[in-house]
Symmetry: C2
Subunit: 214 residues, 2 copies
DNA sequence: GGCTAGGATGTTGTTCAACAATCCTCAAGG
DNA sequence: CCTTGAGGATTGTTGAACAACATCCTAGCC
């Protein structure tokens, strides 16, 4: 309860953006939103800064803030950094506390359950949770928050895809494979598998994305 | 010149902090600073948000903003994430564009020159530039900015050390060794060397840091 | 003496209204 | 077709005011 008004505002807007109520490209008008949410323009601007911080919105000077529209090169870059953080997690797996390793296994299992139910949004969430858990093996708060921001940005990119519904499903078996390799202590092979995985996923996304506007 | 007033303010404050004019722990009073810098309190608060974003200052609700005082566990965590980003750069070195590899070599050389001159602040800058160049081999804007933030935060930690003057100098020979391994294409050994390097540097810093306050 | 309750004081959090600076639109003119 | 220039709309910034909160000091109690 010790959160500031601006922080609560940012959370509310973040929720709207991730749900898709504010699709990429939308302008967030200061006057309209401040009236809508019942706060002053100044406070709303503070909330905007927080959203800029997790790169969900983009601030153009003298023009306003817009929900970001990640382009193909953004996705490519996100996957580069994901590769750095997740492979670091795999390399750290050998000395990671058991609780963190359990989190990896749990995420894979939950993704499989969701797929059995045909609950594709839940599959997406669990898939991302699996990769967050991989990076989490670093046992580093900074890695964790960086990873969270990357995945939030990626979720935004999914919103621009034509049909993201069953995107994650074919990758579940590869998630399980990586988890097995980790459990068996074959870290080098796990890292190679993960790298190949990320490369394929990135390619698949970039290919189905609309062209970048000039 | 298309920068906002808040951005200019943030840059000015960032410079003061990194120079040490605002040592870690200092409270940044809104009223005093707004009078001093000739801007409104609201604008100053916007600048604060930008500084929070590169984690140079810390915002405590209803208490104000303070220049961060990184503790030993902060340093440990920074080195964890540095390890992830820099080793990723080393692994990407094989396919990195020549310009990025040149940047690595240049940084090492400049560090050696500065050491010959006994210019320890310049040695520190060049040392950090070398590691920034390593991470830069990823050719990823997001990795670059993440690395920049990490190093800025680390510079803050140096300010709390008793005598950071010649800290970087003994590491220069190891920088050169890593650079040589990269040039010879021995990426695996370069990565191992780098990991050992980071571990030693971290230990050295943490051991000379004052105790964390409870 | 030591401890708690309560008020005094200063700081931050938020709002409001106004004006300046900038961008966008659209129509007039070459 | 292109340029140019109002005009309108939005953001950028300010200053003042009040509310909410933290800290410190003091008075009172055990």
């Amino acid at each position: 309860m010790t959160r500031s008004t601006a922080q609560r505002l940012a959370a509310a807007l973040r929720e709207r953006i991730e749900r898709g109520a504010l699709p990429p490209g939308t302008q967030l008008s200061e006057e309209a939103l401040s009236l809508d949410l019942g706060v002053s323009r100044n406070t709303l601007r503070e909330a905007f800064r927080l959203l800029v911080h997790d790169s969900l919105v983009e601030h153009q000077v003298n023009r306003g803030v817009f929900v970001r529209v990640p382009g193909p090169d953004d996705v490519t870059d996100i996957y580069r950094m994901r590769g750095a953080l997740e492979t670091a997690g795999v390399r750290a797996a050998e000395h990671a506390p058991p609780a963190l390793l359990d989190a990896v296994t749990t995420a894979v299992t939950e993704a499989e359950w969701a797929a059995d139910d045909g609950d594709w949004p839940a599959v997406a969430t669990a898939d991302l949770a699996f990769h967050r858990a991989l990076a989490g093996l670093c046992a580093s708060p900074r890695v964790d928050t960086a990873m969270d921001r990357l995945l939030a940005e990626l979720r935004l990119a999914f919103h621009t895809m034509p049909s993201p519904r069953r995107f994650h499903e074919p990758f579940l078996v590869r998630n399980r494979a990586i988890e097995q390799l980790l459990a068996k202590g074959e870290y080098t092979r796990a890292e190679a598998e993960l790298t190949a995985y990320l490369d394929d996923a990135r390619r698949l996304i970039v290919d189905t994305m609309p062209e970048e506007r000039p």
